[in-house]
């Protein structure tokens, strides 16, 4: 089981040692044009989690390709590039320019006003533009996760990443939203049950690889996602409070598996599902 970071929660260039402790590094989402992001205040702490409304701040496709990507390659860590946009062709144009990386399509950012085209439409356009592994990052707000997942698979996705943040809000003492934008993406330990349910529902609908994420802070949390059908696990908010989380979660994951009588973490794959299925690869 590979351990990754959640997009936007780690900068491999300023924290290369943390990135090297992961099996692959996922970049912050890249959009065609540079973006400053939303007006501050952009983050707020809540009970059992945090809110963010960064708004896809990034240097834009051209600067990423010419400057950031070569530096990331030099780190020697397998790379996943998170690709964003506001129309299917924007996603596809970025995909067409990427070589030797896994692509994760950010189909579910809660912090921009522009509504994206349908997720499956975007995946279809990107599939036509690249032969690289293509993962679709899914919103936990999908009404019918099984249907969503089947549509993404039919559109050509090689894998799924779930879940992105949930939309949430927090108020200050004067009953005004803490975030300038009003609401933002809710992450952290509070959303783990949402992530577990999403992965369970997706696993019942597909055999595709699934990167499970949402509120993982320990090896036990990672193992629970694996038991629900995740083939990879990503760390997000925990990286802000514990930069050592990658190596710690790796270690705990192995210990927890052994304690439960599994030879390795893969042994717990789909343990929460009935009937039992086996992990591919």
């Amino acid at each position: 089981v590979q351990l990754l970071n959640a997009s936007g929660c780690l900068d491999a260039l300023t924290a290369p040692d943390i990135a090297r402790a992961l099996d692959a590094f996922v970049t912050k989402t890249i959009t065609p044009e540079p973006r400053d992001g939303n007006s501050p205040v952009r983050i707020a702490e809540t009970d059992s989690g945090m809110l963010n409304a960064i708004g896809l701040a990034n240097p834009g496709r051209e600067r990423f390709l010419s400057s950031t990507l070569p530096q990331l390659r030099a780190l020697g860590v397998p790379l996943w590039v998170s690709v964003g946009g506001f129309a299917a062709h924007e996603y596809a144009e970025t995909c067409a320019r990427l070589e030797g990386v896994t692509i994760e399509l950010n189909l579910s950012c809660p912090n921009v006003d522009e509504a994206p085209q349908s997720a499956a439409e975007i995946v279809r356009a990107c599939r036509a533009a690249t032969t690289n592994p293509l993962y679709a990052k899914v919103s936990p707000h999908a009404w019918d996760m099984g249907e969503t997942v089947r549509a993404l698979e039919a559109a050509g996705a090689d894998g799924l990443s779930m879940v992105n943040t949930l939309r949430g809000a927090a108020l200050d003492a004067r009953l005004r939203p803490k975030l300038a934008r009003g609401s933002g993406g809710y992450s952290g330990p509070a959303i783990k049950p949402v992530a577990l349910a999403a992965v369970l529902a997706a696993r019942r609908a597909t055999d595709l690889p699934i990167v499970g994420m949402g509120g993982v802070t320990s090896g036990r949390d990672a193992l629970e996602l694996i038991a629900c059908g995740a083939t990879h696990v990503a760390l997000g908010t925990v990286l802000f409070s514990d930069p050592d989380a990658p190596s710690r979660v790796h270690r705990e994951l192995v210990e927890e598996s052994l304690q439960l009588g599994f030879a390795d973490p893969e042994g717990a794959f789909c343990a929460a599902l009935d009937p039992v299925v086996t992990m591919e690869n």
């Binding site: 900068d11 300023t14 007006s39 501050p40 205040v41 952009r42 983050i43």
Partner: protein, 51 residues
């Protein structure tokens, strides 16, 4: 208050505050807007010279 001091003393070095998540420039959470430009306080501040 910082805005008021800034108006009085344009060259002041001011220590800004913002909620901060990662603390090393990754998350873009602690950005503040100064003269239309967004600065990440963790790597560009927290003390910024107003010029």
């Amino acid at each position: 208050m910082l805005e008021a001091v800034r108006a009085l003393v344009p060259a002041a070095q001011l220590a800004w505050e913002a909620p901060m998540a990662c603390g090393y420039g990754a998350c873009y959470g602690c950005a503040v807007e100064i003269d239309g430009e967004l600065k990440r306080l963790c790597v560009e501040g927290p003390v910024l010279c107003n010029s």
